[in-house]
Amino acid sequence: MRKSTKVFAVLAILATIAAGCAKKTPGTSTGAASCTANKLKGFAAGASMNHSATFTAAGYTAQAAKPVVELGMFGDLTGVNSALVTPIRNAAQLAVDQANASGMASDGTALSVKLQLVVKDNKDAAAATAPPIEQSFIDNSKVVGVIGGAFSGETEAVGGKFAAAGLTHISASATATSITTHGWPFFRTVVPDSVQGAKMADVISSLGCKKAAVIDDKEPYGKGLADAVAAELTAKGATVAVRQAQDAKTTDFSTLIDTISAQKPDIVFWGGYYGPAALLLKQMRERGINSLFTCGDGCADKQLVTLAGTTAATNVFVTCPCTIPLFAPAGSKAATLETAYKAKYGIDALIYSSEAYDAANMFIAAIAHSGGGTSVTRKSVLDFVKALNNFPGVSRNYTFQSNGELATSSQTINVYPVKSGSLELLGTTDQAIS
């Protein structure tokens, strides 16, 4: 025992000496300087989206006993994902309150009914508990449209009964590619992961990136997006030198960092959420890997920079099929939404609040166009939403295909580079391609 204790002591002393004598070498930089987020078109200029504000605060006139029309909304409001779903609920509620206060829909059509948002909690976004919520909305004859679900699993679990009841449901955040293949009256105000992945890859390759590392968190969302990015990058002639996965519960990314530093890719993509993304980014930068780092909507949160640190969070961009009011340039519609949202709730409007606000406004317009709401039926709402043509929203203008997917022209993906320590909305992928 004593002998091995001595061995330990000698080891410790040796290590200390080594630390003291070791020479500092410059950080091994990987990644060609040509492939950086700075080259995104409009990055330096700080181009804004040039949307003009359309909201006007109208005086609230109290009216007695208007008939009530209800909109449903469901999602995980108390479980593990509630931080992602609360903005959706809040934004939908804001749209309803604004319409009730002004007495008209966002397109100016007069409303003669009182709108009410009926919120149901689907804790932890479980697929098993979604169908009873679906049934409760169907059984409530005042409900003419439903916003939700928030996650893809719970959204796919409902739909059959909605179809039979002719009840329109619009998701503001479910992006799994498969949801729109079932042919029910389902619409979404976001773009599927397959399209986001391909458009992100187009931006990456337009920056001159040739060698990529594509990593995901083994979850359906992260893997699906990463597969789409890898496929499009390959199609564009880039090499996907590392295609690996790391469990989202992992904190120690050193194995992956070693692999990346050996391959020296000029771009690293993470398919997953911001927590592990920040870990990977921080540990990469500490190892001197300064390659472009990109991530999808799972990273579109200020926590990405907070957790990775502003030093590490450079040469980074995030894409999202969403317009996040918090990161929108001043003067845009989304910035106006941010102001109204913050005034009402005292917190910032985060991911998918614009898309939920738009979904609610579509329903409100559908109701207003049915005789101010007095002659509204589930069918009149469905017909109105199906026929929308460039419906002006905060996030984009909406036209739907027959499967409920956005028309190709409406499938915009926004690019958010990290600029001086904060995500900033640059514009769509098409605008960012240099």
């Binding site: 690996q244 070693d258 870990l279 030093t311």
Partner: protein, 306 residues
């Protein structure tokens, strides 16, 4: 095979650094098992307490303009104390009542799982679900080279602290009176009790030691990777438990050996087969080792048992 040729120096350095942290956590499992034959599944949360209280102190220090290196060094005190106290309280409140009543093993196990969930959720309610970032104290980045092995400052700090802790623990268990008590209870609690060893005190000290090591590991982990959250203990906890079994559970030096072996196997297998396979490779090796040495690399009877 890049993983065992050109990348090997990197992988050795990272594997040893990761392994050193795992070994420190594994000590907590192995000490408690040695004395009580109990797998303390709540130890992963004791570890998480170290990371959390280390973070809170580092934040406080950095906000008050204390230089980073000093903050990091002093942060070991709150981190280790918080984990040590939490471990002792856990034993007092959760395990001792069961021990008094001579509860069956299974009751301890369920109690341990319950305590683990309880501590996790308490921290979740207090700190929220989102991970929290560590402010920079000592830049981990600057890279040193020893021969052709590239080493980061972070890895040196982790390995040196871990070795110092382990030497301290080894000396304590083998040289002090209390350490002799721990070894006596581990060998035969009844006889030790008859010989005048205060078993309750020995058990408390054992939990305290495991907690102190776990707290230091938590701080090193948070410092190394820059984040902590209520659920951070899960993966390192499982890895450390595996390392303790691999090294020979109940054996202090086995935990060290198991931790280092696990860190190296994880890193090298991740390099060879892709990081998605590293856990699979690790457990295949664990099963293989246990097939030939069912009691682990250093079995309980060999070398220094606690």
């Amino acid at each position: 095979m890049h993983c065992i040729t050109t990348d090997l120096p990197f992988r050795l350095a990272d594997g040893i650094a990761s392994g050193a942290i795992i070994a420190l956590i594994a000590l907590g499992y192995t000490l408690v098992y040695g004395v009580l034959q109990l797998i303390n599944f709540a130890h992963s949360e004791i570890f998480m307490f170290g990371a959390l209280f280390g973070l809170l102190f580092i934040r406080f220090g950095v906000d008050h303009g204390i230089p980073g290196p000093i903050v990091l060094v002093i942060a070991f005190i709150p981190a280790m104390l918080a984990s040590g106290v939490a471990a002792v309280l856990l034993e007092r409140l959760a395990y001792r009542p069961l021990r008094r009543r001579g509860a069956p093993r299974l009751a301890y196990l369920i109690c341990a799982i319950g305590a683990s969930l309880f501590l996790q959720q308490v921290v979740r309610v207090w700190r929220g679900s989102n991970p929290e970032g560590f402010p920079t104290t000592v830049t981990p980045a600057p890279v040193f080279t020893i021969g052709n092995v590239v080493i980061e400052r972070r890895q040196l700090i982790v390995v040196i602290v871990a070795i110092v802790m382990m030497i301290g623990l080894d000396l304590f268990v083998n040289r002090t009176r209390t350490g002799r008590g721990i070894r006596a209870v581990a060998q035969d609690p009844e006889t030790a009790g008859l010989m005048g060893v205060n078993i309750d005190r020995v058990v408390s000290v054992t939990f305290l030691l495991g907690g102190l090591m776990g707290g230091a590991a938590g701080l090193l982990f948070g410092y190394s990777f820059g984040q902590t959250s209520f659920s951070i203990g899960f993966t390192p906890g499982i890895q450390a438990f595996t390392a303790a079994v691999l090294g020979g559970i109940g054996n202090v030096r086995g935990a060290l050996l198991g931790g280092l072996a696990l860190g190296l196997v994880q890193n090298i297998s991740g390099g060879c087969f892709g990081s998605q396979w590293q856990d699979v490779a690790t457990f295949v090796i664990l099963v293989l080792v246990l097939m030939f040495r069912p009691t682990g690399i250093l079995s309980r009877s060999v070398g220094g048992t606690v």
